[in-house]
Symmetry: C2
DNA sequence: CTAACAACTGTCAACATTGACAGCATATAC
DNA sequence: GTATATGCTGTCAATGTTGACAGTTGTTAG
């Protein structure tokens, strides 16, 4: 099983398309005994309409359905993943309030599953799901594989989010100057331009100058949006 | 090793003091072959002066030194942890620019170490360090233990941050109403009160009313601070 | 029933922000 | 030497925010 890790790690580091990367991760999932593997990445931004990308080897009819009916919005595993990094098992209890969705998933062979989420940059949550049709997931199997699944979640998220993030959110790649960062930090803590001017011993005019430069770089329409974006992207 | 997991998980779930929790985690670290274990939690808030808590079984003289000289600010492992969840090994290269710090740590027996970080709520980063005095960390050992260490990082962070967070940041426990959340979301995206009023078909006055209520709950001095805090605490 | 809460609305004055104009100093990279 | 980036400063008018006042309506839990 050491070979598993070594060989696949190479694939993760060398492959440059998301598709190849995902294949490598799905292969690791398969070795753990899961036919299906899905990775979803949700960026917090824009807050009023967060961006989501999904990659999976689910039956394509189910992928289509899931997308069309916007199941993302009701999927209890997604809901859980956004709140906690605790792994979660597909159980009847979990899907109690979304029976139709659960039935439909099962009809596509998605019966026994496990999922875990994780974050890197503050505003990006990744979720890895491993599933299969046949064998229920016993407690013993879970205990046995928990370590590897935790590792796989981390590895998958780090590898995939690194490629997907700049694509989805070009602002994630911009660089703020030191002054811009300092001014945004104080702004994010609720200081007015006047107060920041006193703190930093510069003119109020200069404070506003830095703020508006930062906002331009971040594609933010005002200083509130700039502060939130910078904070969620980990610039502060 | 299954016993390891089961027995200790119980400890993690039942013990209610951070101290007990940390003991359980340190015990798991010891079983992995590390004499020393340290957990640090950094809240992004307040942004201009982030809060940090440390728990460790390091020699107490070193803990005192580290605190007194504010080594947190220069420690390269901390710097790495804040940017990436990738595990990191203590190497000469890593400490190249902080030789004095590295020497001092080694003089306390902290010679071979490994660290990994992780986030849950967007604004909280936890870092687990495992270290020892004697045996260098070989590649083979790392490959062998990578899974368990990844799992331990996750487990430690989830258990410890859950207790530490509300203590450090009481706002993390408040509840915002649906309207407050909706208004803050649009605010965080850079909409003005007037625009939000149009979007939500309510008066500008009402928008400002919700914003100021939310700001009061979050202990924020204006809407920018409220939006940032709410975003970093995962309320949006 | 009643208390508590969420949601909603009004006015007005002080204060803060944004955007558009224009310019200078310093350091680093080619 | 020159381009580029960063940091700094100025003015002014339009627009937005905040705080302090005071009140209505509807829902929910005890």
């Amino acid at each position: 099983m050491k070979a598993w890790q070594e060989i696949q790690l190479q694939a993760l580091q060398t492959s440059d398309s998301e598709h190849q990367l995902f294949q490598a991760i799905a292969a690791l999932g398969a070795e753990l005994g899961f036919d299906y593997c899905a990775y979803g990445l949700r960026l917090a931004l824009p807050l009023s309409n967060p961006k989501i990308v999904k990659v999976s080897n689910y039956p394509s009819a189910w992928q289509t359905q899931y997308q069309a009916k916007n199941y993302c919005a009701i999927d209890p595993t997604v809901k859980h993943a956004l709140r906690s990094s605790q792994p979660i098992l597909w159980t009847d209890g979990l899907f109690a309030s979304t029976a139709a969705f659960w039935e439909e998933a099962r009809s596509f062979g998605l019966r026994y599953g496990w999922a875990q989420s994780m974050r890197d940059v503050p505003g990006a949550t990744g979720m890895l799901t491993l599933a299969r049709s046949d064998e229920p997931l016993s407690k013993a199997e879970l205990a046995d594989k928990a370590f590897k699944m935790a590792w796989l979640t981390q590895t998958a998220h780090m590898a995939l989010s690194r490629r997907l993030l700049p694509k989805l959110l070009p602002e994630a790649d911009t660089k703020l100057s030191n002054r811009e960062i300092a001014v945004l930090r104080w702004t994010a803590d609720g200081k007015t331009a006047g107060e920041i001017a006193d703190i930093m011993k510069i003119t109020e005019r200069t404070v506003n100058f830095h703020i508006s430069n930062a906002a331009a770089k971040l594609n933010a329409s005002n200083k509130t949006a700039a502060a939130v974006k910078a904070a969620l992207l980990g610039f502060l």
